[in-house]
Amino acid sequence: MAPVGRPDPLSGQAPEGCGYRVGDVKIELLYWEGCPSTAEARALVDEVLTTHGVEAEFDVREVRTDAEAEALGFPGSPTIRVDGRDVDPRGAANRPALNCRIYHLPGGRISPVPSRDSLEAALR
C-alpha cells in the first residue's frame, strides 16, 4: 500500500478517500517583490503538497513590470494557479497590477494569501 496521500505505485491512483490529484499537476506562484507575502504563499504551497503527498511541478515566477502584469493577467501578489486556473477565481479577473492581492477568507477575514482550503480544493 502506498503512503498516505501518495499514488499507489501499481495503479497510479490516489489512495481511496484521498481525492487529491496525481500526476502532471503544474502549480505556478506569481509574485511581485513589493509585497511581503511571497514566503508565506510559498510555504503554504509546500505544506499542502507535503501534507497530501501531491507531487507537482512547482514554478515560482517574479512579475517585475506593469507590462508583465498585463501580459500574465496578474491580479496581484501572490497569485497561485493550478494547471493555469487561479485558486481564488473571485479575484482572478481583477485589474492586472503590481500590488498585494486581497483574499477574502471564510468568516469575513482579509488575508494577503489565499486560504489553505482554496488551494486544497484546486488540487482535488
Binding site: N99, S111, P112
Partner: protein, 176 residues
C-alpha cells in the same frame, strides 16, 4: 528618509474624506497623536483596519487621536483615489480622520515605507513609537499590542518600552 526617534512631527495640511482640511496644528489638544500611513487597496491595511477603529474608540476619552494618511499614487492605483477613499471611509465607518496626501509631500517628510505604518507622537509631538500596530496581521494571533502599549506608556508619562518595530504591509506607492 524616515523620521528618527524623538523627531518633531513635520507639519501638514491635507484634505480629509469629511470634506475639510486637517492640519497638524488642529490636533494640538491631543494627548498623543498616532499617524498611520494607510490606503484602500492593501490587504494588510484591511486586515488591521478594524483594530485601528477600535484603538481610536478605546483611547478617544483619553484625548488620543488616530489619523490615517493615504499617499499612494492614485494614477497607477485608482483604488487609492480620493473618491475611493471617501467611499471606503463611509462603507467601513471610520471613526478616525482619513487624509489624502496627493503630492506625497507629507510622506516624503515622514518617510513611511509600508502601509500600515504608525508614527506615534507624544503631547509635545515628538516621535515616541514607529512601526507596526501590533505583531500579527491576524487579530487572533496577536502577542504584542505595540501601539496600545506605546499609548499606555505615553499617557502614563513614560517612554514606550519598544520604540520601533518593523512595519509589515504593502509598499507605499511612490509616483514615478
Amino acid at each position: 528618509m524616515t523620521l528618527a526617534p524623538g523627531a518633531e512631527a513635520p507639519p501638514f495640511d491635507l484634505p480629509g474624506v469629511d470634506g475639510r482640511n486637517h492640519a497638524l496644528s488642529d490636533y494640538g489638544d491631543a494627548s498623543a497623536l498616532a499617524i498611520v500611513w494607510s490606503c484602500n487597496h492593501c490587504p494588510y491595511v484591511q486586515a488591521w483596519e478594524g483594530r485601528m477603529r477600535q484603538i481610536q474608540a478605546d483611547y478617544a476619552d483619553r484625548g488620543v487621536r488616530l489619523v490615517a494618511i493615504n499617499s499612494n499614487d492614485a494614477e497607477h492605483y485608482p483604488e487609492d483615489s480620493f473618491e475611493a477613499m471617501r467611499e471606503r471611509a463611509t462603507a467601513e465607518g471610520f471613526d478616525f480622520d482619513y487624509l489624502h496626501d496627493a503630492d506625497q509631500a507629507v510622506a516624503t517628510a515622514y518617510g513611511p515605507e509600508r502601509t500600515p505604518e504608525v508614527f506615534l507622537f507624544d503631547r509635545d509631538r515628538r516621535l515616541v513609537y514607529h512601526g507596526a500596530i501590533d505583531d500579527s496581521r491576524d487579530d487572533r494571533s496577536v502577542q504584542r499590542h505595540h501601539l496600545r502599549e506605546a499609548l499606555d506608556a505615553v499617557l502614563a508619562g513614560r517612554s514606550p518600552e519598544i520604540g520601533e518595530t518593523p512595519a509589515v504591509g504593502c509598499s507605499v506607492k511612490w509616483r514615478t
